[in-house]
Amino acid sequence: MMLETERPERSRVSINSMHVFAFLLVSAIVFREQIVGAVGAIPELQAGATIFLGVFVQATPFLVLGVLVSGGIAAFVSPAMLKRLLPNNEKAAVGVSGLAGMALPGCECGAVPVSRRLMDQGVPTSAALAFLLSAPAINPVVLVSTAVAFPGEPRMVLARFLGSLATALIMGWLWARIGKTEWITARVSARHQDTGRSKWEVFSEAARHDLMQAGAFLVFGAGLAAVLHIIVPDWVLEHLAGQMLLAIGVMAILAVVLALCSEADAFVAASMSMLPLLPRLVFLVVGPAVDVKLMAMQAGSFGRGFVLRFAPVTFVVAVVCASILGYVVLGGAR
C-alpha cells in the first residue's frame, strides 16, 4: 500500500480521483441547463429524483446519528468494556443486545454502521446482528409513531414490538448456531493504531469513514427504492382485501421494495385501511428488517455474500414471526 502512494507521481501525468471529481463538477456547472431540461422532460424521472432525494434527505440525520454512535463506540468503548457489559454466554448476549436495540432512537440507516462497529469491537456477530435487526424496529420513536398511526388499535404496537424482537432474537440465535464469520466478506476496516491518536481523532476518523461508507450505499438503496416506487402500481393493493395469505405475501414483498423509513411505515400501513390488520403488521415487521435500501447498505458494510444469505432468511423469519405473533396478539386473522 505504501508503495503505491509513494510512487513518484510528478514524473508522469497521472489522472487521479481529484481530477475526475473536478471534471465532473465543472461539466455539471457548464451543462446545468441541459441536465435540468433532460430531467424535467420526463415526468417519471423528475418524480423519481424527488422521491430519491426524499429517501436520502430523510435518512441523512439518522445516518449522522448512527455514525455519531459508531464513532463514539470506536473512541470511547473498548472491547474489554463491551465484554464486561455483555454476558459471556453467546445466547444471552444475543438477548441483551436485542433488547438494547430499544435504546437507539433511529431508523435502519443508522443501525448498520453501529452494528458493524460493535462487531469490530469484539461483540459476537450474532449479538451485533440481533441489535441490527431490533434497533430500527423496537425503539420508542417507532413504537410511538405506530401508536399514533393506529389510534384504535393499541395491540398493533405490542404485536409489532414482539414480532420484531422475536425476529431479531431468532436471527441472532440462528447465526450463533450456523453462522460463519467468513460470510462477512467486507473486511474489518483496519483498526487504527490507537497509540498516539487523540480520542477526537479516532472518533472523527471512524465517523467520517462510516458516513462515507454507509452513505454511498444509502444512495444505491434510495435510488432502487425510487425506481420501484415508480414501477410498482398501487392497484395491486386493491385486489388483496379478501385474501389473507396473498395479502400477507404481497405486503411482505412491498415492505422490501418500498424501503420506507421505520418511523414512517406505520402511517403508510395505517392508510391502507382496505387491508386487514395482519398483513399490515407483517409489513411493519418485515420493513425495518429487510428492504432494498438496507440490503444495499449491508452489502457495503458486511459484503455481498453476507446479504445473499442473511436477507432471505431474515425475510422468512420476519414473515413467520409477524404472522404468528400477530395472530395471537391481535386475536385472530383480522
Partner: protein, 230 residues
C-alpha cells in the same frame, strides 16, 4: 478515491444538505419538522471533512493507509445526491406522479370531531375535510360553507377534483387526497391553485371516500411555498 477527494465530496454533500435547509427547499422532499436535524447533520458532515483536511495538512500529506479494508469506489455514489440538490433541485411532487396513490379507505367507524372554526366560510385543511366527510358523526360539515385550498386535477371524464399531496415522512410516501368539485365548467388548467368556497357532503366507500363539494365561489391563487399537506 483519494482521501482528499473524499473530504471534498463529503463537504459537498454536507453543503448541499445545509443549502436546502437554509433556503427552505427541503420541504419538497421531507417534512418541515426535519429542519433543525438537517442543519445539524449538514454542518456535522462539513466539520468531519474539515477536521480530516486539517489533520492531513498538519501531517504534511494524506495517509491513504486506512482504505485497504475495502474499496472506496462506491463513495462516488455520493456525488449523485449532491449534484441533484445543487444542480437539478427537482420540484415537489405533482399530482401526475402520485395520481394512483389516492388515499382510499373502506368503511370506517364514525367518531365525533371537534366543531369547525367559527366565522363565515372558515379555511379548513383538506385532510381534515376528507376525514370529516368520511368519519364525522356530528355532521360538522353539513350545510356549512367552508374554504379549502388545493390544486386542480382533471379527471378523464372532464370533471374536476381539488387535490393536495399528502406526505407522512418524506416524498417517498406521498399520496394524494381529493375533493370532487361539482362545477359544470372547468376554467382552469391542471395544477392551478385554487381557494374554493362551498359545502361538502358526506362521502361513502363506494366513491373511494372522496367527498363532493358544492362550489359557491372560487379564487385562483399563486402556488404556495410548501405545496404538501401533512
Amino acid at each position: 478515491m483519494k482521501r482528499e477527494t473524499q473530504n471534498v465530496l463529503l463537504m459537498l454533500v454536507g453543503g448541499a444538505v445545509v443549502k436546502i435547509a437554509f433556503d427552505g427547499s427541503f420541504v419538497r422532499y421531507v417534512k418541515p419538522s426535519m429542519h433543525p436535524y438537517l442543519l445539524v447533520s449538514g454542518v456535522f458532515m462539513i466539520v468531519l471533512a474539515v477536521a480530516a483536511m486539517v489533520r492531513d495538512i498538519q501531517r504534511g500529506g494524506p495517509e491513504d493507509h486506512e482504505e485497504h479494508g475495502h474499496s472506496s469506489r462506491p463513495y462516488w455514489m455520493l456525488l449523485i445526491p449532491a449534484a441533484l440538490i445543487l444542480f437539478v433541485a427537482p420540484p415537489a411532487l405533482g399530482v401526475s406522479s402520485v395520481s394512483e396513490r389516492v388515499v382510499t379507505a373502506g368503511p370506517l367507524e364514525r367518531t365525533a370531531f371537534p366543531p369547525l372554526p367559527g366565522g363565515a366560510s372558515p379555511e379548513v385543511p383538506m385532510l381534515d375535510v376528507v376525514q370529516r366527510a368520511a368519519r364525522d358523526n356530528t355532521g360538522s360539515l353539513k350545510d356549512r360553507e367552508i374554504t379549502v385550498t388545493g390544486f386542480v386535477v382533471e379527471n378523464s371524464d372532464g370533471s374536476v377534483d381539488l387535490a393536495r399531496i399528502l406526505i407522512v415522512c418524506c416524498a417517498a410516501d406521498a399520496r394524494s387526497i381529493r375533493i370532487h368539485l361539482d362545477t359544470g365548467s372547468n376554467a382552469w388548467a391542471e395544477g392551478d391553485w385554487l381557494r374554493v368556497r362551498g359545502t361538502v357532503g358526506q362521502s361513502s366507500p363506494e366513491t373511494g371516500n372522496v367527498p363532493t363539494m358544492s362550489v359557491t365561489g372560487v379564487e385562483q391563487i399563486p402556488a404556495p411555498e410548501n405545496t404538501y399537506a401533512y
